[in-house]
């Protein structure tokens, strides 16, 4: 169910998309936060000739789309849900790079939701494309919605 907590999301839910323009600050700051010094993300002085969005920023895109679709748990705004979640699996395929100045569109849906060994899992599928339709990243993400196991 969209509009609630992240843990309310269900298999088949289709996210309302989000759009934003990639800025130099976003790319550089994200790279800086992981000690990534490659010039690809900090300026245009690199073999691509343009400052690039780190491909791992798909994780930020996941936060953006959750913020837009889960009104009771806007994490960027500082809201918390009923349980702490943990990221379990990241799987990104890079189809092209996105560059500073480009507008990108993030779309996605919930592939599955299931319980394994007492823990609820949520499987997201996201796509990032440029606003003119070039596919940038496809992404599968598995998140444990509650680490604590009941009765454990």
């Amino acid at each position: 169910m969209l509009g609630g907590y992240i843990s309310d999301l269900e298999k088949g839910d289709v996210f309302k998309s989000v759009e934003y323009v990639v800025t130099p600050f976003m790319c550089s700051e994200y790279a800086h936060g992981t000690e990534e010094t490659s010039e690809y993300f900090h300026s245009a002085r690199n073999p691509a000739g343009r400052q690039m969005r780190p491909p791992t920023m798909i994780h930020v895109d996941k936060m953006r789309i959750l913020e837009e679709n889960c009104d009771k748990e806007k994490r960027i705004a500082g809201m918390k849900g009923p349980d702490a979640r943990i990221h379990y699996e990241y799987h990104a395929k890079h189809h092209s790079a996105a560059y500073v100045g480009e507008k990108v569109v993030v779309t996605g849906h919930i592939v599955d939701k299931y319980v394994k060994r007492g823990r609820p899992y949520l499987w997201y599928y996201l796509e990032v494309s440029t606003s003119d339709g070039r596919l940038v990243t496809t992404y599968n993400d598995l998140t444990v919605l509650r680490y604590k196991v009941d009765g454990a």
Binding site: M26, C27, T34, E35, S38, A48, I86, H94
Partner: protein, 150 residues
Amino acid sequence: MSDKPSFNVGDELIGPVRPVTPQRIEWYDSAMLSAATNELRQVGSNIHTDEEFARSEGFLAANADGMIMTNWCSEMLIRAFGLHYLEGGELRTKYIKPVYLGVPLSVRGRIKEATKQGNGSTMYAIDVWCEDGQGVKLVDGDAKVTVAGE
């Protein structure tokens, strides 16, 4: 790095060797918020930054956001493959054990397959992982990168 990086099956990739520190956790979480909002932000309390909250959620202690290690794996692949990875690669990481503060992490990779394609390119399949000081894997994964031919 060469424009056409070349590896053999069994070749090892060596990534960063870094302990997980409270500062590194704060750097990542704050950077994630800053990138999401396009302004400088500071992370608040969560299972990565707050020991007491982490324990209340079933963890032994505060632990690192898995994306820190994914980014370190990605860094290793950028160093090895450059644009070939950035424009057409693939990375999968699975956080198989919590990574607690102070753990010295080594990021590693090994070329598993190197397959010549019909168009002259080479597709590399790579095992990727992060291990602690005792060689125990805490993050496991794999990657694929195609290096175009001449």
